[in-house]
Symmetry: C2
Subunit: 342 residues, 2 copies
Amino acid sequence: MSTITDVARVAGVSVATVSRALRGLDRVSPATRRRVLEVAEELHYVASPTATSLASGRTRVVAVVAPFLSRWYFATLVSAIEKELRAHDHHAILFDLEDETFDSRLPLTQNMLWKRVDGVISLDVAMVPDEVELVDRLGLPLVAIGSPVPGRPFVGIDDRAAMRTAVEHLVALGHERIGYIGVVPQNVAHVRAPQDRLASFLATMDDRGLEVPDGWVLGSDWTADAAARDCADLLSGPDRPTALVAASDEMAIGVRETARRLGLDVPRDLSVVGIDDFMLSEVLGLTTVRQDVTAQGRAAAALLLQALGEDPPAAPAELVVPTELVVRESTAAPAAVAPTPL
Amino acid sequence: MSTITDVARVAGVSVATVSRALRGLDRVSPATRRRVLEVAEELHYVASPTATSLASGRTRVVAVVAPFLSRWYFATLVSAIEKELRAHDHHAILFDLEDETFDSRLPLTQNMLWKRVDGVISLDVAMVPDEVELVDRLGLPLVAIGSPVPGRPFVGIDDRAAMRTAVEHLVALGHERIGYIGVVPQNVAHVRAPQDRLASFLATMDDRGLEVPDGWVLGSDWTADAAARDCADLLSGPDRPTALVAASDEMAIGVRETARRLGLDVPRDLSVVGIDDFMLSEVLGLTTVRQDVTAQGRAAAALLLQALGEDPPAAPAELVVPTELVVRESTAAPAAVAPTPL
DNA sequence: CTGAAAGCGCTTACAG
DNA sequence: CTGAAAGCGCTTACAG
C-alpha cells in the first residue's frame, strides 16, 4: 500500500501539499489539488489513521462503555451510535464492563482511554468520582446516556415520568392492588434506572393514596427468566395484586408468562405493564411505556461529535427524549370492576 | 500525561531502555527494570497506543463486522468477542453494515481496515470476492463466524444438522404436516444461515417421504413481528400444518403468538420449534435447537489472536460448535395422533 | 546490559 | 500557493 510520500513523488509535489490537498484545506491551487486527487485515487491511497492520529493528536475514535452489551437496550444504542459516528468519519471502540456477577462492573481505566479515543459515551453507567476525574484529567469530552454525569451532556428519558405513566394507566383502569417488580440490590449502584423507577412507583402510589402491601415490591435482576421466577410466589398466593408493573418489558414478559402458567388470564386476572417497548413487546401484545432507544443513541453520538468540533457548546446539553404510553393487550380493568372483560 | 521521555529522564536511562523494560524484553538488568517500573508507576505512564502502533505496525485492534448489530445473535457475539480480546490486551472496533433495507448491506472498504486494525472477525457476513481480496491485499487475518469464507478459520454451527434435528423431533412426535418459515429473498445473499436451514428442511422432509404443500414454506425477514404476520394466512386457513418449524427462535415466538391469537393452542393444535435458544426462549417455553453463541464469539476471538501471535497455525481451523435439542412446551404429538394431550 | 539514531507516516508552523 | 523541517511518541536494529 502506498504512503503519502508515494503520492507526493508521482504527483511531483511535497508531502505537505499532498496533505493539504487531500484534506481540502485552502491555499492549494485547483490544478495541483486536482492532480493530487488523481494520483491518490490511482494509487489507492488511504492515509494511515495511526500516523494521522500521532501527528494530529486526534484519533477519531470514541469509546462506548456499557455495563452489559448483549442486552437489547445496549445493543440498540451501540448500533445507533456506531452508524452516526461512521457517518461523520469516526469509529466506535467497545468496552463491555460486565462482570461475572450482576451486582458489580469493571472500572473504567486510563489504559482504555489514554491516546486511544477522543471522547467517551457512557451507556447507562453511573460513573464513580474516580472515573469522572480520570476522564477529566485526560481531557476527554463525555456524554452520558441513561445515567447522567453531573455537568456533562446527557441524553435519556425521564425514568420517573415513564414509571408514573405506567402506574397511572393502571389506576385509570381502576386498579388499586398494584405490585412492582424490578428492585435491585443496594450495591447495584452502577445503573440508575432501577432506583428512579422504583422511587417513582412508590411516590405515585402514595400520591394516589394507594397502599403497597409488604411483599408486593419484588426484586429481580432485570432479565425475563429471573422475573418469571421472582413473581411466582406472589402470583400463586391467594392475596395477589390485580396488576403488576415491571420496571422493564423483559421482566414484564417473564411475569406474563408465569401468570399464564399459573392459570391466570392476562389481562383478565392480571394486568401487566412494562417500560421500553422492547423488540418483542409489540408481537407479544404488551402494554408499555415506549422509549426511542435508537434516537437516544444517535443524539448522544451527535452531541459528542459536536463537543469534538469547531465550537463546542458552552453549556452541556440535556436531552430528555419523550416517552409514550402504548396500550396493547396486557392491561385491562380489573375483574372486580369490570367482570370478565373478555 | 507523561511520555516515555519523561520516564527515561527521571529514571536516568534512555528511552530505548524504558521501552524494553516496560515490555518485559530481556537484556535489561533486574535493577534498572525495577527502577523503570517504579518511575512509570509514579508518573502514571501509559504508552500512547497510537505511537506504539505507528512504530510497531500493530494496532492491537480488530474489526468486528456484522450485517446487523442490535439483534440478539450479533450482540451476544460482540459481547463475547470484546471480552476475549480485552483479556488479551486487544480491542474491538465495530462496523455495522446494516443498510436501510433488509436485503442489502454496506460493503467492507479499505477505509475501514487499512492501518486501523490487525485483523477482522466477520459475524455471519457472506463476503463477496472483492471484499475477500481486499482483506488479503491488506494482509489481514480473517476469521468468520456463521458464514464461512473459503480457506479461512471458521467458527459456527452446522446449520443443516440443526435444522434436521428440529424437523426430526417433530417427525418423531408423529407430525407429518409440517410447514416452514424463514425463506429469504433471493437477493439476500449476504447471510448464509437462511439458505442452509431451508435446504436442510426440504431435504429432511424429502428423506422422510413427507410432502411439503405449496404455500407451506413461508418467507420472512427473520424478526418476530414479521413472522407473526407472515404465518397468519397459513394458520387461519382450514388446511393447516400441525407443526411449523421456524428458522430462528425469534420467528418461532412470532408464530406462537399468532397461533394463540387465532385461538390455536400451542402445542395441542400447533407445535412450534425454532433454532437458537434465544434469550427469551426458555421463559416462553419454546422448544428449540440450542447453539452456544457466546462460545462461538470467544472461540473466534481466540482464533484471531492466535493468527496474530508468534506461530500462527498453518491450516485454518474449522470449529463446528455442537447444537442440542431442547424440548420444552411448544411441541407435542399432533392432536390427531394423540387427541387432547393436555 | 545499554544508548544513539533512524524510522513509522503523517501534520503543522514557518519561510518564501 | 508551496516546500523544508520539526515534531508527534514510540520501536528497533546496530554499536558498544
